[in-house]
Subunit: 146 residues, 2 copies
Amino acid sequence: MRRMQLSKAFTLIESGPVVLVTRNDGKKNNIMTISWTMVVDFTPLFAITTGPWNYSYSALRESAECVIAIPTVDLIDQVIGVGTCSGADTDKFEKFGLTPVKGKHVRSPLIKECLANIECKVIDIINRHNIVVLEGVSAYFDGSRR
Amino acid sequence: MRRMQLSKAFTLIESGPVVLVTRNDGKKNNIMTISWTMVVDFTPLFAITTGPWNYSYSALRESAECVIAIPTVDLIDQVIGVGTCSGADTDKFEKFGLTPVKGKHVRSPLIKECLANIECKVIDIINRHNIVVLEGVSAYFDGSRR
């Protein structure tokens, strides 16, 4: 076993499900692509790592809610596209042909094209690591895609 | 999109890389199977969620170090086996035919049969969520398995 570049070690762990996280700041919807996610408990609680460098971060802090949407591989171009432009100057739902669907518990939209969606409340932010802890309050699954 | 059982929502996010985490309590090696992992930054920092219900947790707190080992699919029986018995009464390296390899920076062993190993220091524990934050200090990759 040979030594590898420590700066590439994150790629060993990052290969979990890439998700789309939506939010609404009271005026408009936005989406970000996140691959730094973790289950925290079965209730369910989730953690995502994001931070002030991300346009969605302040809206996430202020609204204290979001939706985690689970894309499938046919959405790879949209997932990469969403992750490589900014909501500051782009309507990502429109640009990438994604359809916002009204949820029940949060203002953030579900994404119709995704396999599953989880409505979440922000219950904690660990500022020193930019870890946001989310409580899932309702989950949806597109059974027709099975 | 139909509603799904909220209690199953964790399965949507859990499908990241299952890893083996080793530690040494000064007397013996042990291993646990963990699928609740996340990248926290590129330096690299990682988070894992575990807790007092896990036999390895107290050793992880006390030694403040571990190794994250990345198994491949041919190790699936070992990964499940390690995750379904306890180090309290089992030498898991011996039982599952895994080979501990001495690391450079931590007392916890690398696992020879794994594709990659990351020596880690525990730099923070967020007790209220059982989130352990790890700093990778050295990483190894088995290039012969490519």
